[in-house]
Symmetry: C3
Subunit: 398 residues, 3 copies
């Protein structure tokens, strides 16, 4: 057992000033540094407890609801794992099996599924300008229900990816970096490149690159955002990254040259996304059910993408990084050239070299989610964890 880490994290956790209880987790940039650190410390503790076979069950009964408005494997199982580790039962709100209408009844549904619910994880990343809004409307509805005494408890909303941010992913990424470089402090001055990369698909959400530049700039990292002209992110997230960098006296740079961006990088995160203009257009067309328009847009977007096939993370590009061995990151699944597509985000050689790193990166996600639920549903997480450690209950009951 890594008892030293447990005690160190617990000690740090005690000093933090957070305001999570009976709140939600939508966006990392709404949270204070202490609040971000609390998730990180807790996730590490919970992961260690799992590793050494301890139970972190905190609920005897209770529901956790998931709403996936987009396909998902990794996040779906991360959420399922997190709620299971806490003792909650998962119930998915599958909108194809339900009688959900829109408008007023969205608010109604939020209450109807929450009578015995402790937390609601929502992925809604397809429509720009919609996903975050949907989560907030959901939150308002259950807050109203809780205030009116309709709900006995207030479920917390966990953002499992919206049009703006993907906090469970980026905090898992940050934990990977913390572990890889030894501490949060050691990240100061490190250069991380969030780079667009080529993919033969289109319409990939902006939430990861937006979340990465907004989060990593808070920890004194030098963040370079690289993308071909036209693949802009939402302007407000650029502003957040700039402001963070100014506050931290670190760098935030934008470039349209992938090679340039990789020079002397400590970490690279090459990943495809659609431009926010394409996403906006797509949202309009989807809302108007304009199938012909959508097909045309897809064709255009794919043609546009195809101009940038050289935006692939490969050995040549990696050679430009610090000592040629920057850490390669990805939120998975990656488009790997010659493996699951003819030309993609990353060469097989590079992906294979860092495969275990990306798997470990993903392995933090269940515990990040578990930490978020714990923080939003329990008043004093420090006492809770101390209680768990003292209880010392095994996951295997024999």
């Amino acid at each position: 057992m890594n008892k030293k880490m447990l005690l160190k994290n617990l000690h740090e956790l005690k000093k933090l000033n957070t305001n999570y209880y009976n709140n939600d987790f939508f966006l990392t940039w709404e949270k204070t540094d202490d609040e971000i650190k609390a998730v990180l410390l807790l996730a590490e503790i919970l992961k260690e407890l799992h590793k050494i076979g301890k139970s972190t069950r905190l609920f005897d009964t209770g529901l956790a609801v998931s709403i996936f408005r987009d396909k998902s494997t990794r996040t779906r199982f991360s959420y399922a794992s997190a709620v299971n580790a806490l003792g909650l039962s998962l119930e998915e709100l599958d909108e194809t099996k339900t009688q959900i209408a829109h408008g007023e009844t969205e608010r109604e549904t939020a209450n109807m599924i929450s009578f015995l619910t402790e937390t609601v994880g929502i992925r809604d990343d397809i429509y720009l300008g919609e996903g975050d809004k949907y989560q907030r409307n959901f939150s308002l509805a259950i807050q109203e229900g809780f205030n009116a005494g309709i709900l006995h408890q207030r479920p917390s909303i966990i953002n499992l990816q919206s049009d703006l941010d993907h906090p469970t992913q980026t905090l898992a990424d940050l934990l990977k970096l913390k572990g890889y470089f030894g501490s949060l402090e050691s990240l100061r001055g490190k250069k991380i490149v969030m780079s667009w990369a080529y993919s033969p698909s289109y319409g990939k959400p902006l939430s990861v690159p937006q979340g990465i530049i907004a989060l990593m700039t808070r920890f004194g990292m030098d963040v370079t955002l690289a993308y071909p002209e036209g693949y802009d992110l939402l302007p407000e997230t650029i502003t957040i990254a700039k402001t963070n960098a100014e506050n931290q006296k670190s760098k935030f740079e934008i470039t349209h040259n992938m090679d340039d961006s990789f020079i002397n990088a400590d970490i690279v995160y090459p990943k495809s996304w659609a431009s926010f203009q394409v996403m906006q257009k797509r949202t309009e067309l989807l809302q108007n059910s304009d199938t012909a328009g959508l097909e045309k847009l897809e064709k255009q977007a794919l043609q546009q993408n195809a101009k940038y096939k050289e935006w692939e993370c490969n050995q040549d590009k990696m050679s430009l990084t610090k000592n040629g061995n920057a850490l390669y990151m990805h939120c998975l699944p990656a488009d790997i050239t010659g493996v699951n597509c003819p030309a993609g985000e990353v060469s097989q050689e590079i992906f294979d070299r860092y495969k275990n790193d990306t798997y470990q990166e993903a392995g933090f996600k269940p515990f990040v989610i578990e930490a978020m639920i714990l923080l939003t549903r329990f008043k004093n997480p420090y006492n809770i964890i101390k209680g768990l450690i003292k209880k010392n209950a095994n996951r295997l009951l024999c």
Copy 2:
């Protein structure tokens, strides 16, 4: 904690004479008054225990199966919540993922999914003359299996809505009335109007209006059933309502004028339904896979409905009720004029005024279902509840 209510209900529960153990819950009108009261008392107790954070877990392991042959959100989550609160794991029998044939093999399937199953919730309300029959065949099959020693325990069937009745809804409705007016006794002489209302959809089940007139007449309420000519309910449920009213020396009236029905009402329950003639025709056409016939029927039915757009619950109609402030009830989701349809069952003004009431009404459903499962699976519910209260275990394990 509402300790007084807990003790009062427990005291009353002890005196009741019920025969639930190893039985099912199909229809309220098959149950004795004591049996109906037992559900009400238990549901209130379980709701209060949940409210004060107590665990009502009674199973260490065990499955609860759900079979939804119609779309559902509210009932689906109510059932999921109820079985979770008891410690059971939910497993849905999704007929699209299964190898179910009809006839002999329906009986087989019932046993195959019941080896470790404690309860089976079934919604089957689309086919008139089919839903209730399906539930009873299911019950016969598992009874046979239990008698033959194939099943170690006999799962109870809970009717989550059939073509005849929707007991988990109407008992939740009754609990709302009990809470609103203070006691079951205070409902005597109160006038409740079960009224048809306009909706731009067709084919809505008859189970709620049938269940309401059959249940509320048992408690000495004056029940008025209002609907446009042609929107009849199943004759046997009318007979039940009449007989109940005679026994109670209260009124059961049918009118074809919504305004008349609302005059001096204490409670109004305006809700759309199809006529049983349309439902019969629809069942025939569905069974014959007569798509053209179905489309024609839908068109006719919607045209027929459209003649009665004035059957909307609005301020004018509410003004006719006692002091202009009858309680508005609905099983949700409601068709709200100008909100989720151009013209519907209720005006936005009225719906909003009673929104919290309808949410609270729905909030009883998980506990009604939990009570039904508890009653059908445990020999002595009084002792069980006494044990739970004595154990005083918290839902949060910390």
Copy 3:
């Protein structure tokens, strides 16, 4: 309580030499006799504990994943029941809701869904040459992840039916035989007929007949495989059956005459299957998305089947068996003449006579699966069971 059986099985279990821990269950013929016996003994113990109302919960938290690449009711619920009885929560990997690509990312997915997963049940029986391979690739992937420290624990893979074997079914069948004839030893010299039977469907997997001839020949039974010419099984499974019979000094015979095969039989298992040539052809066509070819193949196969409508298990055929009362077995659902098809595998008369036997046969499956999970996830099953019996915890918590 059948305390004698519990103690006897426990005593036998202690003497067995098995190597299950941190391994998988793919095929019965990869397991030693001791390993097969361990599943049987444990399944009987777990079934008895369930029957007398005892809890067999061994996990406080943890996920069990299921992957069904073919429709399933019986096996789905058996698996759900087994994991629930152990305290695990079920999460289905529904490939229609996920972002799974093939090749490299199959290996990735295996790890991504396994961070907190204890066992993975996989049914993949549609493609000949694919199902078993898929399960083994999955196993390799998580073994790699476990070795690299990415997974804290190594989930076990349970074969819920592959193109080669259906071990959870055939071991349930064997338990039925053990119970019916009194002991494993008493099966020696008994004649069991695994016979093809007519069905108006095509493409049924070969896994059951292959599994039956490979398993039953190990216990000294005289096994006759009967099928119309052209309905061959995979040659390697024939070889296994032959070798077993030689080792046991018992008989393994193949005949193309159903009547002959039934003469003097103690047990008959008449069940339809496709020939492996048809399955191979089908696999090719499916992989090439050759819809026209598939339709043609189906037509041909059904015409071919239709030549053998006399391969029905009926009173005439049963009269040929030992004393006219051989035990009829089926993995369910059966195609019953005049019940769910005009002409099928078995007459209604015979099916009804043995209905309870086939239901009991199926009733062993949840406990076979539970035994497999227990064996693959716990080092010392003997101690575990002794602990459970000593703990004597009830399934009902009251």
